[in-house]
Symmetry: C2
Subunit: 132 residues, 2 copies
Amino acid sequence: MTFALHPRLEADAHFAADWQLCRVLVMNDARYPWLVLVPRRDEATEVIQLEAPDRTQLMEEITRAGRLLQTLPEVAKLNIGALGNLVPQLHVHVVGRHPGDPAWPGPVWGHSPAVPYDADALAGMLGLVRAG
Amino acid sequence: MTFALHPRLEADAHFAADWQLCRVLVMNDARYPWLVLVPRRDEATEVIQLEAPDRTQLMEEITRAGRLLQTLPEVAKLNIGALGNLVPQLHVHVVGRHPGDPAWPGPVWGHSPAVPYDADALAGMLGLVRAG
């Protein structure tokens, strides 16, 4: 089975890396360090549909993503979410938050339009993932 | 170490059960079937602070909670979130959603004030958890 990203994820985020289970994307919103993990399991729409070893691996990749984001000085809190109300393909958000960010203390999802990265800042985020 | 719920969780939700890792609460909002899993690890504020076996167990308890909610006919989608911007004690939301619910397709967190359960509906939700 060929893995393909949902067009909405393709449009809203940049490819960073393929880890063991997940494709790792950087959400194109410079206001938040925000990774999206997409398990390369085409049929999955819910975390709980994954087989148990994949669920464990997903948790480990969430942890890896969270630890990368925590190396950034501005990250005071992690927000992790699997929603999928708009994009059915299973994907997990791992977002670095801090008091005073635009959506704080509410969730980032649906809060306000993204502010795209400039090239240098995007390269920095992609480099963070690729070095980790 | 004695485990104690954060007062905000104590106020907003009802005790349903203690599973192997987590205290399981029913959020007191009759508009959504909504469970909250609180790992009984007093010091934890982030999923990624848990030891690896606890992370795997948390994922299994998220799965158990999600499968219970999916037995309800109104649940079309699960939303899973670990935020903690307001309540630092680590807790994971597992929420049953459907198109047309009050916050759909946005997240439930921060959307609008809860509508408390009446006694019969609350008993039904607590029974779902306790039977599962």
